[in-house]
Amino acid sequence: MAETLVIGYGNDLRSDDRAGREVADRIEAAELPGVEVRSQSQLTPELALDIASADVVVFVDADIDCRELTVRPIEARERGAQSMSHHTDPETMLLLARDVGAVPRVAHMVSIPASDLALGFEMSPATREAVGEAVEVITALVSPA
């Protein structure tokens, strides 16, 4: 399994919501050594198996409440009764990873500002720009010092 796992998720038919997947696709295309990538419509439980065997995990998602690109550390945490539907959130995924194996040493949440979640293939200019920025930030984050 990879040292680093990048998981980009979102709905790629919902304009800016595709941002996480767009970042994942670009990171994958870069073929960074030791980095594996998942491009998902949403987080589902079996991802815990991959997360549990990674040293570093980076979640990437569009965020309508976010004004600028944000990178923050996250920890395993249950977020309530809805925490395990057909899909879930990064903190809960880390908790599930703990239960099936181990929590990664480092986990980051990369939030990309989004404003338009209507049906559509195109991202808004601001989100498109933030996607490029996110790719650079994540590349630096996962590359050996």
């Binding site: 709905n11 790629d12 038919l13 919902r14 998902q40 419509s41 949403q42 589902t44 439980p45 079996e46 815990a48 198996l49 249950e78 309530g80 009764a81 809805q82 925490s83 395990m84 539907s85 057909h86 899909h87 908790l95 599930l96 239960d99 099936v100 049906l119």
Partner: protein, 479 residues
């Protein structure tokens, strides 16, 4: 209405919904409505797009069961081309669908319903989830995740990606299966089958503890719809439409999928975005669609077929029918049926993988537009899925209709919630354990409301208890 209970949102299902329970003047439950409160309008979005894009586009109706949409859409595309796809393409599509059934049913049983079944309806709601299950039954929970992962791996191996796979196309499959993939899947099947057998043994071991739930979780006569074939075997991909009643009497059979409108009508309700399909011959112009209520999905498929066609699952089906007294009419048996289908899927997949032609390179037919009005049907994990397309001479969609499994279970879900509410609600409050039973009644169907309304999102639940004058007496909210 003076007394009414509202459950909003419903948890551990896909999408947003609420439940409104009406009380009569004596405080007894009199009505119940399951509302789906999101709308996505996917059918409109797809108009104007080429039919060749439809598998990829419609798969995005849902991130949970995209393979089902891929298959139904690809089959509609086959029909547009007017081709018979290569035998091995059919075989590979069947394997993909079996993988889809395994992963979807595994999620439903191990993650969404097992906490109720194994930890108890009245257990601490904060721990009544997959983490509580991890604490109490760590090996079971872990194997559930592994089983789901295996199913996803099958999809990825053949279709190219776990979600929104690009490898299933009109005309067949994009790439043949390699020997390496074949062997890897065969190896994975050993553990998958063991997990299926163990889960089935676990469920049958505790089923007798749930006599009251079996009697009240949607235990009523209805029709059952599924795909069928001339051999009477469990069908999940092709064939014709067949409908039986609660006595097992065949009320419709040999109905070509393209003729589905001859037996299925669709009614709208003012308080839900979920359509209510019904069996048309039973419903007159002024009748309530409830007269044509039918169920789809694992319960229906097992009622429609004569046998599974594989040894272990056939043995399980015999016990299932003995316990159900013949045709299973309780929706609680959806859980049981799901486990039998997982077992059958592992056996069927093993048979397909044992066929040396499974690595044949002939997996795709090619043609232009030869038909303009087509229907593609497949059995999704949750039930029969219809994609109906009207295309112009260039293959561009001018009209479309999708009938989703969860929509077809809309009327039964309403009846189920009503039955549970009548059985357990006594007075204007809803104890937590009762709330959970109401939700679990919905969860038995494993509804995917993102698909059925073509909406997206989680499914929190609100339950409202409403008085005859319309006043909300009690309201419980989750999520």
């Amino acid at each position: 209405m003076k007394n009414m209970v509202v459950i909003d949102p419903v948890t551990r299902i896909e999408g947003h919904a609420k439940i409104t329970i009406g009380l009569d003047d004596s405080g007894a439950v009199s009505t119940c409505r399951f509302h789906v409160t999101e709308f996505r309008g996917f059918e409109e979005f797809c108009k104007g797009r080429p039919v060749w894009e439809m598998p990829s586009l419609t798969a995005r109706t849902c991130g949970i069961c995209p393979v089902s949409h891929l298959l139904a859409s690809a089959k509609a595309g086959d029909a547009v081309m007017g081709v018979k796809i290569p035998d091995n393409a059919v075989r590979l599509r069947r394997i993909v669908n079996l993988g889809q059934i395994i992963q979807s049913h595994a999620l439903s049983f191990f993650h969404l319903s097992a906490p109720d079944l194994l930890l108890g309806w009245d257990s601490d709601p904060a721990a009544r989830n997959v983490f509580g299950l991890m604490a109490e039954e760590p090996e079971l929970a872990r194997r559930g995740i592994m089983l789901r992962s295996f199913g996803q791996g099958v999809i990825e191996s053949i279709a190219g990606r776990k979600v929104h796979s690009p490898g299933i196309l009109p005309g067949g499959i994009a790439e043949p299966m390699t020997e390496e993939t074949r062997e890897r899947l065969r190896e994975g099947l050993v553990e998958a089958r063991k997990t299926a057998e163990d889960a089935l043994a676990l469920f049958t071991g505790i089923l007798d503890n749930y006599e009251r739930e079996v009697a009240a979780f949607g235990s009523f006569p209805s029709l059952f719809l599924g795909l069928s074939n001339d051999d009477g075997l469990w069908e999940h991909y092709d064939g014709y439409l067949k409908m039986v009643d609660s006595e097992g009497t065949v009320v419709a059979t040999q109905v070509a999928p393209a003729d589905y409108r001859s037996i299925i009508g669709e009614a709208g309700r003012p308080d839900s975005y979920l359509k209510s399909p019904y069996f048309k011959p039973n419903v007159g112009a002024d009748d309530d669609p409830l007269a044509g209520i039918y169920r789809v999905g694992p319960l229906a498929r097992l009622n429609v077929c004569e046998r599974m066609g594989v040894p272990a699952a056939d043995e399980a089906l015999a016990e299932y029918r003995e316990r159900a007294g013949g045709i299973a009419t309780s929706s609680f048996f959806y859980h049981y049926a799901r486990l039998i289908e997982i077992l059958a899927a592992t056996e069927r997949m093993a048979d397909h993988l044992a066929n040396d032609d499974v690595t044949s390179p002939h997996v795709r037919a090619r043609a232009g537009v030869n038909a303009h009005h087509v229907v593609g049907v497949s059995e999704a994990p949750r039930g029969t899925l219809f994609h109906e397309y009207q295309v112009d001479e260039h293959g561009v969609l001018t009209d479309m209709n999708m009938i989703i499994a969860t929509g077809q279970n809309n009327l039964p879900m309403n009846e189920t919630v009503l039955q549970i509410a009548k059985e357990w609600i006594d007075g204007p409050s809803i104890p937590e354990g009762i709330l959970n039973r109401i939700e679990a009644g919905i969860r038995a169907y494993d509804p995917c409301l993102s698909c059925s309304t073509h909406a997206i999102g989680m499914m929190p639940l609100v339950v409202s208890l409403v008085a005859p004058d319309g006043k909300v007496v009690s309201e419980v909210r989750r999520g």
